[in-house]
């Protein structure tokens, strides 16, 4: 913990003068808006109207655009970060939900819930390059740190598909617990974590052997098992700590990255869904769907330090690097 405080301190010194001035973008599924939070003030500074049912949200690698999947409009909208206006769309398949970019920021891999495919899109040309058929209701997407494998999780098929980015073929299928929602690699590529909302677990997969090596389970005194529904997963860059959003359990589990044991539960808002770190990893933001707010967690002290009201049913969150 000390190391992290120190690291955070050094990073904030580096960023001095403009301390913590990142922008967080929150998709509000019901309001059809994106709330923009200035992390130096922890305030919503702008609300951008977008298409219907915004969910998956990410910033392009060049930091110029925010991409937001608007599922009911069957497209991904491109928001210019300077003007905060929608400047175009990307040709996803029907009902896009989550997506992931390659390291260069050239290709986008999109899970289309409605037609059991992953669509590959050239971001710059805004062109669809092809589709990979996967299981029923693909949702979670992750890119391996070496860029060779993209993961798609199928919610009704209960499989994490390993797709070779060179051949665009599925090369492995790993069965996980019911309704896999989100996938996240450790930065060193040693582990892939996949959350199962209905199964109530996080499967830790060895990406080399392509096997589940352990499952993280959650027990919260006073809560029945069926209310613990893991969705969002975020791992620190050093892989030492994982955060798992537990949906209607209203808590985020803090998981030791080495032992895979839960060390603490942080009470946030209702139906906590997805999370994002500030680039310095000092703070973690979570979207709390049913309380229409975002919790700010101080990563070093593991305390919830702030709650920010946003739009209705906040779903996804992404934070700029600068």
């Amino acid at each position: 913990m000390k190391m992290r405080v120190l690291l955070g301190f050094c990073l904030s010194l580096l960023a001095a003068g403009q301390a913590d001035a990142f922008m967080a973008y929150v998709s509000n599924e019901k309001s059809n808006t994106v709330s923009v939070i200035d992390t130096s003030k922890w305030e919503v500074v702008r609300t951008i109207k977008v298409g219907q049912r915004p969910r998956g949200i990410e910033i392009t690698k060049d930091e110029k655009f925010v991409l937001v999947a608007v599922g009911d409009d069957d497209t991904i909208e491109i928001i210019d970060r300077r003007s905060n206006e929608i400047v175009g769309t990307l040709p996803s398949g029907p009902d896009p939900e989550l997506f992931v970019q390659d390291a260069a920021g050239k290709l986008l891999y999109v899970a289309n819930e409605n037609d059991n495919t992953v669509t590959i899109i050239d971001i710059e040309k805004r062109e669809r390059l092809g589709d990979v058929p996967v299981g029923v209701e693909p949702e979670g997407m992750a890119m391996s740190p070496d860029g060779k494998i993209v993961i798609a999780t199928s919610e009704t098929t209960n499989i994490a598909h390993f797709i070779d980015t060179a051949t665009r073929q599925i090369v492995a299928n790993v069965l996980v617990d019911a309704r896999p929602r989100y996938a996240e690699f450790k930065q060193d590529g040693s582990e892939l974590w996949v959350s199962s909302e209905i199964g109530g677990t996080v499967s830790v997969i060895d990406p080399a052997r392509r096997e589940v090596k352990t499952k993280i389970k959650f027990e919260i005194p006073g809560l029945l098992r069926e209310t613990i529904q893991p969705v969002g997963v975020n791992l620190t860059r050093d892989g030492k700590t994982g955060f798992v959003a537990l949906g209607p359990a209203n808590r985020i589990a803090v998981v030791d990255g080495a032992t895979h044991k839960v060390t603490r539960y942080l009470l946030v808002g209702q139906r906590v869904w997805h999370m994002a770190f500030t680039p310095d990893e000092k703070y973690l933001l979570s979207t709390n769907g049913l309380t229409n707010d975002v919790s700010v967690i101080d990563v070093a002290s593991l305390r919830v330090i702030k709650t920010i009201p946003v739009g209705e049913l906040p779903w996804g969150v992404t934070i700029s690097q600068r």
């Binding site: 009902d95 819930e113 409605n114 059991n116 299981g135 029923v136 209701e137 199928s154 919610e155 009704t156 098929t157 209960n158 499989i159 598909h161 599925i170 299928n173 069965l175 617990d177 019911a178 309704r179 909302e197 209905i198 199964g199 109530g200 029945l224 098992r225 069926e226 209310t227 529904q229 209607p248």
Partner: protein
């Protein structure tokens, strides 16, 4: 049993685990006895493929998963006539290598089928019969229920009415046996959750056509008269599974009161309007495949076929014994777009499930309601719980 092609099954038996990823073919029977059902509302006349369409979609879902696991699922539709013997149909299915059967049968025929299949090792999924007795005194160790019971439906409704503080009910029951069973469940629910039945009335079915060109004029006069001079009540609760009169109650009662039960606010396991928790995706898939909306029976059959797919993918086996043990165990959790895991009551093989309260256009609420607590699962506040059960699985 795993119904691989002959050689594969032989190999499978010889080398067991090593060939787990060998192609596996799973045959599922769909046994139905379609009643000549009509309905007061044209919107509720059941389509010819009611139920089996849900099973077909789930089989498609299973086969998409199966593509990656080398498993293939087949569905065989068997339609019985009123005079057919269910036991003979089961024997014929077993003879064709089917050991898993989804059933849309009334209670007595279902028990005949299940008993005929027992010695042959068949497992049955009851997708339609609501009778509590099938999960209580008449329960069977090879009969799993994805349909809810009348008591689960009544409890789901009662919790909401009590939460809403509509505690005084006027109970109107039809004259057919199943209407009376539903009324029993509603009385039990009232007693459990603090509802009070201020009066009961019986609506006699005097026969006649459901639909006549000028029938409405009469109904508009009949229903107010029928509901006149009731003691003070908050809501009229109708038990009319036979669909003889309940649909005529809303907007026609003597007093301006809402209606629930068999009309108005209706408790059910699935509804074409249900879109929460990702259900929209399932509804879309169904619409694409069948060009109609997904009914309650479709939903219950979908769940049955998905349970089969889930068991086969997890256990790499289609042996009914393995399947039942898996469902009863702690690792079974079905994702069925109801906002929480569905599991099986191991004491009577009833699927635990939330109950939707549908008003015909949207879902008004989903039970269990907040505050109805339970030490094991809040879903066990719906229907007969373990300590009350009369089931002894044999």
């Amino acid at each position: 049993m795993v119904r691989c092609p002959f050689f594969a099954s032989l190999l499978f038996a010889l080398t067991s685990v090593a060939l787990a990823a060998e192609p596996m073919e799973v045959k599922v029977g769909y046994l139905r006895l379609p009643e000549t059902r009509t309905a007061i509302s044209l919107l509720e006349v059941p389509p010819d493929n009611d139920g089996i369409a849900g099973a077909r979609l789930a089989m498609e879902d299973n086969n998409t998963t199966g593509k990656f696991l080398n498993q293939h699922f087949l569905l065989e539709d068997v339609r019985l006539k009123e005079t057919d013997d269910p036991a003979a149909a089961v024997a014929a299915l077993a003879g064709r290598g089917v050991s898993i059967v989804i059933a849309d049968l009334p209670a007595d025929a279902l028990l005949k089928a299940a008993d005929a299949g027992r010695e042959r090792g068949l497992v049955f999924f009851n997708a339609s019969a609501l009778d509590d007795r099938l999960r209580e005194e008449d329960c069977r160790a090879n009969l799993i229920h994805t349909a809810p019971t009348r008591s689960m439906l009544a409890d789901g409704l009662a919790q909401y009415l009590v939460w809403k503080k509509w505690r005084r009910w006027l109970l109107v029951t039809g004259s057919h046996p199943k209407d009376k069973l539903y009324a029993d469940a509603l009385r039990r629910a009232a007693a459990r959750f603090g509802g009070r039945i201020v009066q009961e009335r019986v609506f006699e079915d005097t026969g006649g056509a459901r639909r006549t060109d000028s029938g409405l004029v009469q109904i508009q006069r009949q229903i107010p008269l029928f509901t006149q001079s009731a003691p003070d009540y908050d809501i009229l609760v109708a038990a009319d599974e036979s669909d003889v009169f309940a649909a005529y109650l809303p907007y026609r009662t003597w007093d301006a009161r809402p209606v629930a039960g068999s009309a108005g606010l209706v408790p059910k396991s699935w509804d074409p309007a249900h879109d929460q928790w990702g259900a929209n995706q399932l509804q879309n898939r169904f619409m694409t495949m069948f060009r109609r909306r997904m009914t309650t029976l479709d939903g219950q059959a979908w769940v049955a076929a998905r349970m089969i797919g889930e068991a086969v993918s997890r256990k790499q086996s289609a042996d009914p014994k393995v399947m039942i043990e898996f469902f009863k165990g702690p690792d079974f959790a079905l994702a069925a777009f109801k906002g929480r895991r569905l599991t099986l009551r191991d004491w009577n093989l009833q699927l635990r499930q939330p109950i939707l309260l549908a008003d015909g256009r949207v879902i008004a609420a989903v039970s269990p309601q907040e505050g109805f607590l339970h030490p094991v699962s809040e879903l066990d506040t719906l229907g007969y719980d373990r300590p009350e059960t009369r089931c002894r699985l044999k």
